[in-house]
Amino acid sequence: MKGRPPAHPGDIPALSCIEPHLDRLFGYALHLAGGADDARDLVQTCALKALSAKSAPDDAAAYRSWLFRILRNAWIDECRRRRRHPTSWEGLGDDDGQGNESGLLDVSHIEQRLFNRLAVSEALARITPDHREVLLLVDLAGFSYQETAALLEVPVGTVMSRISRARRRMLQIMEEPAVRPLRLRLVRRKR
């Protein structure tokens, strides 16, 4: 990584480097943190760290990857501070989408209306944190498998495998009826 001159809050060009990535950083942070306030805090912490870093990557792609890494590390730090496991996010954790791993998915009946923002957000909240993260980095942030693998410190093959499983599970969830019956627990009355 080639050193860029120190950036600080008064350094307008440095701030303008971050601004084009704000929306994507916020989208990523929103799914990590689960709430808009925490997500905004994360992005601002990320920007503050980036601006006060002694050096930053010169290359645009590396710079973007560097920003996401800062945000992710800030989230991990925040989880440690709150004694919360970074991957034990709130929401409905779901299974791994195991089974029929390599076979094609029957998508003949999947309608385009399923791909609305609400349905996607709900499905994102229900897949496993590992799958969610890789999906967000590839689809939302636009990273390549290689970049995602470097960011998550996992092999490229793992990214490839996770992204395909994540999408399979997303589609399965989005196919489910929007209105699900409540799970009622039967309680036997003592007489």
């Binding site: 929306d23 916020f26 503050l48 998915l105 490839m160 395909s164 999408r167």
Partner: protein
């Protein structure tokens, strides 16, 4: 791998542009031949686009303050809002209490009639039926002792009716008059001057002082005599003073000139 030699993972990698050119070209050919495969690719592409579109824009502008100071600011804001709400609720409560109508002459009249009725069935000279509380119980309001002006003390009763709390003090006069001093607790209520009340059936005087509303009732008493007692008692309750010589003289003179109670 399916019949066309393409599995789900490779299809995803194809959509993501992650396959080497020769593999990507082979899949492109397969898609051209196989409509089902084309649908798969379309679905993955739609999902990818939907995830890409799922993030709302960053709200507002960057505020480059440390996270803990932002959190602290949010907490302080929340505390200030909570404190303001509490103050608002307190003021509203105080305002409501201030403007709550006093229990009124009707309740005072009922209390007087109940006491006077019970008293009329007691033989003359007999002690009052009960004295459950003494004058020292009148902590929320100062009630002067009127026994120095030939009014016989006939007991104090606690009142707790229709959401009002207070005391009823009974006095019996030498000319057969039954005098009630009814005091209702009314904290925070503004001072009210001495006012004559006449409901047609009942004549009384009322005033408010020191967080208590007073009603002086003696329906059968000479109105002039009742007015002079009310004036003295109101002055003493306001100043929290015992009967002084001036008051004793005024009340004695008023008594000698007054007609007996019916």
């Amino acid at each position: 791998m399916n019949a066309s030699g393409t599995d789900w993972e490779r299809l995803n990698a194809y959509v993501d542009g992650e396959l080497p050119p020769d593999e990507a070209a082979a899949i492109a050919e397969a898609i051209a031949r196989d409509p089902a495969l084309a649908r798969q690719v379309a679905t993955i592409s739609s999902l990818k686009a939907a995830v890409n579109d799922s993030a709302p824009p960053y709200p507002g502008q960057l505020q480059l303050r440390p996270a803990h100071s932002r959190r602290m600011r949010r907490r302080v804001t929340a505390l200030v809002v909570a404190a303001l709400l509490l103050v608002l609720l307190g003021v509203a409560g105080w305002f409501a209490e201030l403007h709550r109508a006093p229990p009124g002459i009707d309740l005072a009249g009922e209390l007087h009639r109940e006491w006077a009725g019970a008293r009329s069935q007691t033989p003359p000279g007999a002690a009052a039926a009960s004295r459950p509380v003494g004058l020292e119980a009148l902590r929320f309001a100062y009630v002067p002792d009127l026994t120095q002006v030939a009014l016989e003390f006939d007991g104090v009763r606690r009142i707790s009716a229709r959401g009002s709390r207070g005391l009823h003090v009974g006095y019996l006069g030498p000319k057969g008059c039954a005098v009630s001093l009814v005091v209702f607790e009314h904290p925070g209520r503004r001072e009210q001057p001495l006012t004559a009340l006449d409901t047609g059936q009942l004549r009384a005087w009322s005033w408010t002082t020191g967080g208590a509303s007073f009603y002086l009732l003696a329906p059968t008493m000479d109105p002039t005599r009742l007015a002079s007692i009310a004036k003295v008692v109101q002055r003493l309750t306001r100043a929290r003073l015992p009967l002084d010589n001036e008051a004793v003289l005024a009340l004695d003179q008023g008594r000698s000139n007054a007609a007996p109670c019916a």
